[in-house]
Structures are given as C-alpha cells and as structure tokens.
Amino acid sequence: MASEMELVGTEVEAGPEQMIEAENVKKWFGNFQALKGVTTTVKRGEVVVILGPSGSGKSTFIRTINRLERHDDGRIVVDGIELTDDIRNIERVRSEIGMVFQSFNLFPHLTVMDNITLAPRNVRRWPKAKGIEKARALLERVGIPEQADKYPAQLSGGQQQRVAIARALAMEPKIMLFDEPTSALDPEMIKEVLDVMKELARSAMTLIVVTHEIGFAKEVGDRVLFFDEGLLIEEGTPDRFFSNPQNDRTKLFLSQIL
C-alpha cells in the first residue's frame, strides 16, 4: 500500500502530459441524461473553450471535473488522480483546480482580502502573512489592489468577478475552470474580466472556459469543444472550428451567435 502511494506521488511530481482525461463520462439528473458519454483529454497548459447552446451539458461537464457533480459512469483523471468515491482524492483534486462561477459566488460576509486568503490558510495551512502577501500580489495582477478591505457588495460586478479569479488563483491551482464568467456582467465590464483571463491564458495555466465570447476563443483558445444535448459533437482549433465547421448543428449554432 505504502509503495503504491509513493508511486502515485512520484507520478504527480513528474506530471503526465495529459492534465485532464475524461472517458465516456455520463451524468443523469433523475430521468434526464445531461451527459451522454463525453470523451476528451486536455493537455498541460492548454486553453480549451467550450461552446454550446444552453442545456447542452457543457456546464455540467466542467463541474464533474472538480466533483461539484458526481459523474455516474465513465472515468475522469485529473493530473494523475482519478475521481472516485475516495474522499482524499476529491479534496486533492479540488485544491488543484480553481473555479470561477457565472454569479461570482464571493463570500458576502468576508472582505475581499479574507475571501482570497480563506482557502490557502485553512486548506494549505499557510501562515497569515504569507496569505496576505499572496493576496496582494493577486489583486495587483487582476488590477484592483485598492479594494482589499471592501466587502463584495461594495464592488461592481466586474470587480467582483476579478476578485473571484484572484480567490481561485490563491490556491495556486494547476487548472482553472470558468463557468460562463462574463454572462452575468454588464457589457462595459466584460472586457476587464476577459483581459484578466487572456493574461492567464498566455501563462502556462491549463484553462477550461465555458463562454459565449467568440473573440476570446479566437484570440487565446488552443482548442474549441462544441457540446449539444449531452454529447461532444465537434472539436478543433479555433481557426478551423469557426471558419470550417463540419457538423450541421455546429453550423446552426454558429450562425445564430455570430
């Protein structure tokens, strides 16, 4: 047993080239099948953009990656750790994945600073000073260093979402998931959030982004996945995907949003 754990440990250190490996992932909500067998892999440092109409399962899919939803069938391996009912694996995977939500989900009873330092201090057991230092650096990076002592409700939507990004980055994750991060924002605030995301995309971070921002996909995306009715229908590089879609449903979808 001990030797096996060590083996796993060394594997994580070495780091497989495949960051996320999903194989035939299925998910039911009661009688409704949200995912009908999704298979894909995401490479280390890759920026993947997921498109699809609402109810296509794209959000459900990225939520199975950090176990906000439990997949009912198939296999998901994140950075060499398979998501099973093993409680330790779930905790390990979650602390390696940062997530940004459509509705920000900042903790309203905590200041911006406390929002960011909460997880590192309680999960990673960082000392207070280290957490604050890291948080200041992150707030600088997302462009709002002066808001550290405010409460979320005192910030604009765009600022809140940038805090949410900083909060996710504070755990020094290897992967960032974005679930429609700009959908709840007023138009003039979308750019400030996208700018932060683009900067992230150009770093070595692995990104999976569910969004309708085609510009973002074209500019920094390495690969585009198209979901419909619980299936991964088409994938490809942004150039090929947008200029020469193969599937009829993809064409229909693109004609509606472009």
Binding site: M1, L7, V8, E11, P16, E17, Q18, E21, R75, V77, G80, E82, T84, D85, D86, I87, R88, N89, I90
Partner: protein, 399 residues
C-alpha cells in the same frame, strides 16, 4: 506512458481504501448514529421501567379501564363511575370545542383588527396597534388567569341572574348563557333542501360564469349563488314547518333554563385564546397585504382596473397566498395553547390527563396519549390548510 498510468488509475478505482471511501464513510457514520441513538433510548427506557417497577406500576394502558371516580363539570355526558377512557374522551371533546370555536372567532377578530391596522383613520389604526402591542407582548398564561380571575369570576353573581343582555343572554360568574338554535324533528327534511340549495348555488355560479364569458356582463356570481341558496332554503323552511327553534335562555328560580350555557372556565379560555391569537392573526393580515409589492398594484392600475378590482383581483389573492402558512401555524398554536386550560381548571385533555396520572399513575402513557392527540390535531389542521393553500395557489395560477 499514458496507458500505464490509466491502468494504475483503474486499479485504484476498483479498491479505494474503505476509510477514505465516501460511500462507506456515509454508511458507517449513519450506523454509528443509529447505535448511539438506540443505546441512549434503551438507557432511558430501562431507567423508566426500573423506576416504574419500584413504584409498582406497569407500562401498559390497562389502567385506563379503571373507574374514574372524579367528576368533570362540563362536556359530553359522563359520570364518575365511567372509566378513565371516557374521561379522556370528555377532555378531548372539550379541547375540540374550545379549539374549533376559538379558531373561527380568532380568525374573524384577527381579520377585523388587521384591517383596522391598515385603516386610513388614524384613531382606528392606533386602537388596533395598542391592542396588538399590548397582547402580543404579555404571556398568554398571565392573560388567561387575568380573564378568569379578574374578569369572568368578577362578574355579577350568578345567584341573582348576573348581567342580563336584553333578557336574551346572561353573563355571570357562574355561567355565560346565550341563545342557541335547536333542531326539531323535521330538521331532516330541511337538511335535504339545504343540500339541494348548495348544489343549485354551485350550478348558478358556473352558469353565471358562462353567461359572463359569453356576454361580457359582470358575473355577480356571489349574489346569484347566495340568492339561489337562500330561496331554496326558505322554501324548505316553510315545507318542513319550522325545522329549527331558537332556544332563548330564561332566568327562573335562581337557575338558567334553556339556551347554551358556557362555564366560566370555558368563557375565560375562549376569550384568552381569541384575544391572544387574534393579535397575531391581525399582524399576519396586515403584513400579508403590505407584502404585496407596489409594482403589482401599478401593473393592475396600468391595465385599467378600478381600485376595487385592483384589491380584489390582484392584491388580495396574492396576500392570501402569503398569509396561509403563518395563519396555519397560528391555528396550531391556538390548539396547543388550549392546554393552558389546566391553569384555570378547564377540563380539556391535558388537565383530565393530569388528574388521571395524579390518581392512578401512568404519566408516561398519558404523555403518549397527549402526543398522539396533538400530533393528530396538528396534522388535521395542516391538512385542511394545505387544501386551502392549494386551492388558492391554483386559482392564482389560472388567472
């Protein structure tokens, strides 16, 4: 490299260690919980049985067959030679008598006071507010004792007839006597007419609805159905030849004759429950009407509805929907609070039960009976309120 890793992963999936498997942990946690709870209950139960053994008591309901031996002043027919079971039945009937009448009167009183709280008249508003603030912030037990000792028992002596209200009702410290309606032999005939009347009223209602949908006349459903019902009821009354009689009480030879006699305890308990619960219902009525957002009324106004229609079609249906759940819990509270009759010796089920367990022991069994009674009453009330709620909600959705 890739395939090697994947195989290792598959193996791990097959055998995640038990102490880290979420499903195993969940099952294990629940098992531990069950064991702890069972052990705790077992301990309590064994202690109880040991204690009862020492007192020479048994934990069954046999003792309820014994002769009661104590008298109960009011309620359905009963004498001390009957069993404890009968005594409990009397208690239950008294609980029901005070709870049902109390719920009806408290609703009416609370509705009036709630509307008064919203009156445009400053004085009325203030009177209602003083009432609500005074009653809500003092304990019901204190109010009940006050009504009983300081009001009802302080009424003029019953020996001299007490206060007479135009000679049709009497109030004294011995009893409150009110006129009552009694059925004659031919009541059955009239009852048939009444049922027919209700059916005809419903028919008239749906007929008016159709007429109004066809011709765009105002439906006046309520007037039509009421009129239909009254007409048929009147005909039936004549046909059956005075099926009911108004029994007006008289004061003869230092006693009351006829009418319905209410004991001082009943009067005090009813007064206390109605006044107390009425204050809470008034607040619910007021709060529910105020809780309907302004935008709703503005939208109704924009559609050209008259102020009356705005209130009737838009504001009140929504307010009713908001009000039903809290009113339900007030009804439950009133029913539970009827057990305060104990404080003034009103023989409802709790005080009868206490008398029994003082006399023959069996406190545990009596507690179980109380629990069963009140849980049943609560479920019954909630059931009817749920029906009402569903009816209101559905109507709201259809409109």
């Amino acid at each position: 490299m890739l395939s090697l890793m994947s195989e290792a992963a598959v193996e791990r999936k097959v055998a995640p260690p038990l102490w880290r498997n979420i499903r195993v942990l969940r099952g294990f946690g629940q098992a531990v919980f069950v064991v702890v709870v069972v052990l705790a209950f077992r301990e309590l139960f064994l202690n109880l049985q040991f204690g009862l053994d020492r007192q020479g008591q048994e934990l069954n309901f046999e003792f309820l067959r014994q002769r009661a031996g104590f008298s109960i002043k009011e309620g359905i027919s009963y004498n001390p030679n009957q069993s404890f079971v009968r005594a409990l039945q009397v208690g239950l009937s008294n609980t029901l008598r005070v709870a049902v009448v109390g719920i009806v009167l408290a609703s009416i009183f609370g509705l009036i006071m709630g509307v008064a709280r919203l009156s445009t008249n400053w004085l009325i508003r203030k009177i209602a507010q003083v009432y609500v603030e005074a009653v809500r912030n003092t304990p019901l037990a204190v109010q009940l004792v006050f009504w009983y000792v300081a009001v009802v028992l302080a009424l003029p002596s019953g020996v001299s007839g007490g206060l007479s209200i135009w000679n049709v009702a009497f109030i004294s410290n011995r009893a409150s006597v009110i006129p009552w309606v009694r059925a004659e032999d031919t009541f059955g005939v009239w009852a048939i007419f009444l049922v027919i009347g209700i059916a005809a009223a419903l028919a008239a209602r749906s007929w008016r609805t159709r007429v109004s949908e066809r011709t765009a006349q105002p439906p006046r459903r309520f007037l039509w159905s009421l009129g239909t019902f009254l007409a048929i009821a009147a005909v039936g009354y004549v046909v059956a030849g005075n099926p009911v009689r108004l029994d007006v009480p008289k004061f003869v030879d230092r006693t009351y004759e006829g009418g319905a006699q209410l004991s001082p305890e009943y009067t005090a308990l009813l007064l206390a429950l109605v006044v107390y619960t009425g204050a809470f219902i008034a607040e619910i009525v007021r709060g529910s009407i105020l809780a309907v957002p302004k935008g709703q009324k503005e939208a109704a106004e924009a559609m050209g509805l008259t102020p009356r229609q705005q209130l009737r079609l838009v504001v009140l249906p929504q307010a009713l929907r908001i009000a039903i759940p809290p009113i339900n819990s007030q009804y439950l509270n009133l029913t539970k609070n009827s057990s305060l009759g104990l404080l003034i010796g009103f023989p409802e089920i709790v005080s009868v039960g206490r008398t029994i367990s003082n006399q023959a022991g069996g406190a545990t069994q009596v507690l179980l009976i109380w629990m069963a009674t009140f849980l049943t009453l609560s479920l019954t009330i909630s059931f009817f309120m749920n029906l009402l709620n569903r009816a209101v909600t559905r109507r709201g959705e259809r409109r």
